[in-house]
């Protein structure tokens, strides 16, 4: 089920009413309702893949309990590796099998041996990358004794499949989300209103910003040979906003929906396009994934504790793995590698933690140097997104060649004024709200109800009007 569908518009109020009015007296029943609702939400797309989530959940639930009983290190390690192999095995098969098969064949062909690729027609289960990482984090935390394993199977199933964040995150840690299923949730007016406001802003980002930009990004990327450098720049720019609006919009809807049910999920995006360097960008972009890789890959690999070479190696590993997590294509790997290259100078100069605050925290406008840094960082990410969006590495290279040609300074042939005006409006609101969890959090909140509601109605009107023509799927569903 998609958030931007009529099905969800019916589903959400029904579950909300059942949750707060029918099952509210019994915590177990309330959790069970969330499990059922989550399975319906997921099964709406393809019920066959429910078995994968259920199997994965049961494996980790059982391993968690076994880990609590087991003191012997070798046996504990065995249990941990069983969980890792089962979870990554599913992910590897569904997501990466064809990639490895094709590249294996190509590698053989390179050495003169012709073999037929044995690829399979595999459907990628929606959200597999997200819930696999979520359930893996549980087992690893239990193994490291950072978390007591749960014996409450309903809570555990609800934690793995919690519908707001099941298919595209934020990737929650068991340490944050699981305990919320043990406690009785109370309905708080301010939390629910805040949730609605965040959902509204998420829809605006998705339907108005991302989908409008997608139209032009698709047009330009799909016919990139026909366009001038300046138009290709517009294409990359539109994709830059498309992916941000799409993914952070989904996160906002997920977090807002969770708040309606009394849950607090982690912030996933913190205005990344106002970052002053790449290190800051990665602290603000897809934070739940970045921190996952930091905690479960970078630090176990030695993190920054070793020598320079170790730092460089570990940085490249997490960026490349992060790229590969997004999809089985060399474009994603290069995108990750490129970001590692951007990051490297900061790491070597020990300047990767320079900007831990919010840009222009106590001021209305940034300083000139901050503005310059934001511009450079933004430009670098725009270039990297070309690899992310391109069909193949050769497509990305030819796209960038075309972009950095003499025609970069000509008038772009695709320049939709209405979308550009919207982007300016969007970025202004984002700038004003950059100190908050999401841009609309405090905007007009202390103003009169008339002004506040008029603004919300205007945003809703834009969502309706734009959703009439440009509706697209969420990009991150494919990962």
């Amino acid at each position: 089920m998609y958030f931007n569908s009529l099905d969800f518009a019916v589903f959400l109020p029904v579950v909300f009413i059942l949750y707060w009015f029918v099952t509210h007296k019994d915590l177990k029943l309330q959790n069970l309702l969330l499990v059922i609702a989550s399975y319906v939400f997921y099964g709406w797309w393809d019920w066959r893949f429910l078995s994968l989530i259920i199997f994965s959940s049961l494996v980790d639930y059982t391993i968690g309990i076994q880990l609590s009983k087991q003191e012997k290190l070798s046996k504990r390690k065995f249990l941990l590796w069983t969980s890792i192999l089962v979870n990554l095995g599913f992910l590897g098969f569904f997501k990466y099998y064809n990639f490895f098969a094709e590249n294996f064949v190509e590698a053989f062909s390179f050495f003169g041996n012709k073999i037929q690729p044995n690829t399979l027609d595999i459907i990628l289960p929606v959200g597999i990358s997200f819930y696999t990482f979520q359930t893996l984090s549980y087992t690893i935390d239990v193994y490291k004794r950072k978390l007591e394993p749960t014996k409450d199977i309903v809570s555990f199933l609800a934690f793995v499949s919690f519908f707001p964040q099941l298919v595209a995150g934020p990737i929650e840690r068991a340490t944050n989300l699981l305990p919320q299923f043990y406690k009785k949730r109370e309905f708080h007016y301010s939390q629910a209103v805040d949730g609605c406001r965040q959902i509204l802003w998420g829809f605006f980002k998705k339907v108005v910003i991302a989908d409008s930009c997608a139209q032009y990004a698709n047009q330009i990327f799909n016919h990139s040979d026909d366009y001038s450098g300046s138009t290709l720049f517009m294409g990359a720019l539109f994709f830059t906003f498309q992916i941000y609006g799409d993914f952070s919009g989904y996160s906002d809807i997920a977090i807002g929906t969770s708040r309606l049910f009394g849950f607090n999920l982690k912030q996933n995006f913190a205005f990344p396009y106002f970052s002053r360097d790449i290190a800051e960008f990665w602290r603000r972009w897809h934070m739940s994934l970045s921190t996952w890789f930091r905690d479960y890959l970078y630090i176990p690999l030695g993190g920054s504790r070793g020598g320079t070479w170790m730092k460089i190696r570990n940085t490249f590993i997490i960026f490349i793995v992060s790229g590969f997590w997004h999809g089985a294509n060399w474009t994603f790997i290069i995108w990750g590698g490129l970001n590692a290259l951007y990051f490297l100078p900061l790491l070597l100069a020990n300047r990767n933690r320079n900007h831990l605050d919010v840009v222009a925290e106590n001021k209305m406008l940034p300083s000139l140097s901050a503005l310059f840094n934001i511009g450079v960082t933004f430009g670098l990410t725009v270039i990297a997104w070309v690899f992310f969006r391109a069909e193949s590495v050769s497509h990305a290279i030819s796209y960038l060649k075309g972009l950095f040609s003499s025609s970069l300074f000509s008038l772009p042939s695709v320049r939709p004024t209405n979308v550009l005006v919207l982007l300016v409006f969007f970025m202004l609101i984002e700038w004003v709200g950059r100190r908050q969890q999401y841009a609309l959090e405090v905007l007009f909140v202390k103003r009169s109800r008339v002004l506040k509601w008029t603004f919300y109605m205007f945003v809703i009107a834009l969502i309706f009007v734009f959703s009439n023509e440009t509706q697209q799927e969420f990009i991150y569903f494919q990962f």
């Binding site: 009529l6 209103v193 009007v465 009439n468």
Partner: protein, 302 residues
């Protein structure tokens, strides 16, 4: 919880009331359109004995007013450039729903592109969107999944972004709709054009079920409403595709007639009558219209 529901309900009611203001734009949208033919159909403003359906071949290659003068049948051209047979089916169905039945329908065919996917021939949604204020049109858009069910209740779901553009649409010379609905190519296209005498085989395996169904539905509708249906193959600047023609004949019900342009007429091989390889200039359209009038007179069915 009560406060939350109270505010949600109050906000929803206010939104529901305020959004009705959008009807101003919905009502204004058809007025800004240049091509009002579909709106006239929906408004029961059509009363013709002969109507012409088709894509740009139908729009460009026949002069409806001339046909009217020569046959005495009140004629109107309802061909839409770039439209496919599914759209022709929709136009016919809409016409019959809101207007008096015509006696004769001329359906211009797109030769070998009639039943196969061709990117330039589509269902012309752009003609329907400005008319979203009409429930019938909106229902069609819902059925075709171009609008959602909410558009039955919310003006905001019904309105299109283009409806907020209050500029009146105008037309260029070769897109001017004449009094009888034809859109004639008045200005020649000076691009080089070479007569293509190559014979090609028709690839039946590329046919699309939706297009075939619409084609059969057009025949059914005409039969049910006692309308004489005549299929028209208008001139092309290349050899007539007999391979497609054989396939086409197998899909035509026996009571319907087929007119193929006079392939032996050497004028149809002259560049001066063509705008491009499939579309005639005004002089070519007049020549072909005379041929059509002769055919209609010979069949003596009116």
């Amino acid at each position: 919880m009560r406060k939350f529901f109270k505010n949600i309900i109050l906000f929803s009611i206010l939104l529901f009331v305020a959004e009705k203001g959008v009807y101003y734009f919905l009502n204004q949208a058809p007025k800004n359109e240049y091509d009002k033919r579909l709106e006239n159909i929906v408004n029961n403003d059509m009363d013709y004995e002969l109507i012409i359906l088709g894509s740009s071949r139908g729009a460009n290659n026949v002069v409806a007013c001339q046909l009217e003068n020569q046959t005495g049948l009140k004629s109107y051209n309802l061909s839409y450039k770039g439209s496919n047979v599914i759209f022709h089916d929709f136009i016919l169905e809409t016409y019959l729903k809101f207007n008096k039945n015509p006696q004769i329908i001329l359906l211009f065919l797109d030769h070998k592109f009639t039943f196969v996917e061709e990117s330039t021939l589509t269902f012309r949604y752009d003609r329907l969107f400005p008319l979203s204020k009409y429930d019938y049109i909106n229902d069609v858009l819902i059925e075709k999944k171009k609008k959602n069910v909410l558009s039955k209740f919310f003006a905001l779901s019904r309105v299109n972004r283009a409806d907020f553009n209050m500029k009146k649409r105008s037309s260029r010379l070769n897109n001017t709709i004449t009094r009888c609905g034809s859109i004639l190519n008045l200005k020649p296209n000076h691009k080089e054009l070479v007569y293509n005498s190559e014979k090609t085989e028709y690839a039946q395996n590329l046919e699309e079920a939706d297009r075939l169904n619409s084609f059969l539905n057009i025949q059914e509708q005409c039969k049910k409403n006692n309308i004489e249906l005549i299929f028209v193959f208008s001139p092309n600047y290349h050899t007539f595709n007999t391979s497609f023609y054989e396939r086409f004949k197998s899909l035509v019900q026996p009571e319907n007639l087929i007119v193929v342009y006079d392939t032996l007429n050497l004028n149809y091989k002259k560049r001066e009558y063509y705008f491009d390889s499939s579309h005639l200039l005004k002089n070519g359209a007049e020549m072909f219209t005379s041929e059509l009038s002769d055919f209609l007179e010979k069949t003596n069915n009116y």
